[in-house]
Amino acid sequence: MKIYVCIKHVPDSAVQITLMAKNQIDESVTFLMNPYDEHAVEEAVRLKERIADCEVVAVTLGKEGALSTLQSALAMGADRGVFIKTDDPPDAILTAKLLATAISQDGLPDIIFTGKESIDSQGMQTAFRIGAALDIPVAVNVAALSLDWDSNQVSNQNRVLAECEKSGGDRDVIEMHLPCVIGAGKSLNLPRYPTLPQIMKARKKKIKQIDPDSLGIEKPLASMEILKLQVTTYKRKNRILEGSPEQAVSRLIKCLHEEEKVF
């Protein structure tokens, strides 16, 4: 079985974001693997631990620094990496085409894992675009996965059941034929922390570096361009209501009712 996991190198969610140019953030902050992609890697590695003859390949598209995220995936248990290196990461339309092409030039995927969303661009679309590029089914926000795998079968006779989280915690149980794309949600599993020996061992694993131009993809007609970024500031009134609990609460209700008119 061949599993690909798409992982993105993103700024740590805890850092403050400042701007360098009108449409660019200051990237001299800590970057990590996109949190949902950790769940994707974890699930892939768990499948590998269960299935004989299974290879897990981590794939990323990004700048030089993305190498460290690729190494984290290798430390978590991925077998090797594919690094589409670019100084100018494109929009989600082209990114998905590059990822899909790099994957299909590398091998025949049975499952492609992604995260359900990247926490930097919050595009919520790459999984679907990879699926469309390869013409394979997609399910995202997957909270549980079960696989019926028979290596003697041709791949598309094998199926997965994916539970996709919807509103109010409802879950759609989706059956898909392989190959397919799975967008990992937060409830899928608890990602492991690699041990030091695993981190050391990961340094010896192979990483194939690819130049996006070598993938032979024409620039798509459709595009999404960030014209401008603004750091959001929400001015809050910051009124601390004094008095006994009864008094403070009654002041609060008065404010909400008379000033804010929320009810």
């Binding site: 089914p137 509103s167 601390i240």
Partner: protein, 329 residues
């Protein structure tokens, strides 16, 4: 001159979403936002059982209601078939711009359509300029807002719930039945497992009361539910409460939970981490109840009460019951 004609001919399709047999309230805000562009509005309905939507849609200025259906494989609950049927309708009616709510349904359906059409897509828009195809959306867990220019043959936007106040603009709507025959051979919805969370969907709630680590267990959430009942609010939680197993993940607000945009957000015993704020910083009014006056939530709220939530919340609930406006509900 040519430009004006072109603009006038533009049509915007709107995905209509239902909940408990009724059009979602937040949908009317999406329609109002789309209407500002002055184009002809097509409502696209995939749940054909909900026939009675004409009255409510024409109040908000919808001129055409397209009722989609498919045989032999029906559309209900299958996003792959729904996406295919919507694309067929878009092509048939010449709709190049499509809007929907950024709800769990929209987040699944809109990207399927965009991917199939190779069209640009911006999800979670705070505002869309339909004339120039520029959408504003939060990025970096809401720490920034980006202006995104989309180019292509089609334009697809998911609008964040509650960003536009619904305004009526009555007209007469025509109902058009549009039958397709779409299938989804490699993708089947086998079952729907009902969720553990009661009440309203967080991402579209007007008022939310949330509890964090200070809640200590599942039972204590009762005081929040009691308060929520009076306020007609939804109940949320921080990640700590979810990870501890006190409440289901569907109740988590924040970067790895729900992004919410209520008029009022009441944070009880929540310190106000960056990741929690990522999910609720756009709330209209933030109220904090916390024993620690220096908690980040207290420093970044509109109204704060320093105190024990187990004392404050029941008093709040009791006093709210005396507000006449709330008791008319």
């Amino acid at each position: 001159m040519t430009l004006t004609t072109e603009n006038n001919a533009k049509k915007i399709g709107i995905l209509i979403e239902f909940e408990n047999g009724k059009i979602k309230k937040a949908e009317y805000g999406v329609i109002t936002a789309a209407r500002e562009a002055g184009h002809e509005l097509y409502a696209l309905v995939t749940e054909t059982e909900e026939i009675d939507c004409r009255e409510s849609l024409q109040i908000y200025g919808i001129e055409k209601i397209v009722m989609l259906s498919s045989k032999p494989e029906h559309l209900k609950q299958n996003p792959v078939r729904q996406a295919k049927a919507i694309i067929m309708a878009m092509n048939h009616f010449g709709i190049h711009t499509l809007c929907g709510l950024t709800s769990p349904w929209g987040k699944d359906l809109l990207p399927r359509i965009a991917a199939a059409l190779d069209a640009p897509l911006v999800i979670d828009c705070l505002h869309v300029n339909f004339a120039d195809n520029i959408a504003q959306k939060p990025q970096y867990s809401g720490k920034t807002v980006a202006d995104i220019k989309v180019r292509g043959t089609y334009y697809i936007f998911g609008i964040r719930p509650n960003v536009t106040e619904a305004v009526e603009a009555p007209c007469r709507a025509e109902i058009i039945h549009f039958e397709t025959n779409v299938d989804s051979k490699r993708f089947k919805v086998k079952d729907v497992k009902p969720g553990a969370s009661r009440g309203v969907n967080l991402s579209e709630a007007d008022i939310i009361i949330s509890g964090g680590r200070a809640m200590r267990n599942t039972e204590n959430y009762k005081i929040l539910y009691d308060c929520a009942e009076v306020l007609n609010a939804a109940v949320g939680a921080s990640r700590v409460a979810v990870d501890a197993g006190w409440v289901p993940h569907a109740m988590q607000v924040g970067q790895t939970g729900a992004t919410v945009n209520p008029k009022l957000y009441i944070a009880c015993g929540i310190s106000g981490s960056v990741q929690h704020f990522a999910g609720m910083k756009t709330a209209g009014i933030i109220v904090a109840v916390n024993t620690d006056p220096d908690a980040n939530m207290m420093r970044n709220c509109d109204y704060g009460i320093t105190g024990d939530l187990f004392e404050i919340v029941p008093i709040f609930t009791r006093q709210l019951k005396e507000v006449p406006e709330l008791n008319q509900l």
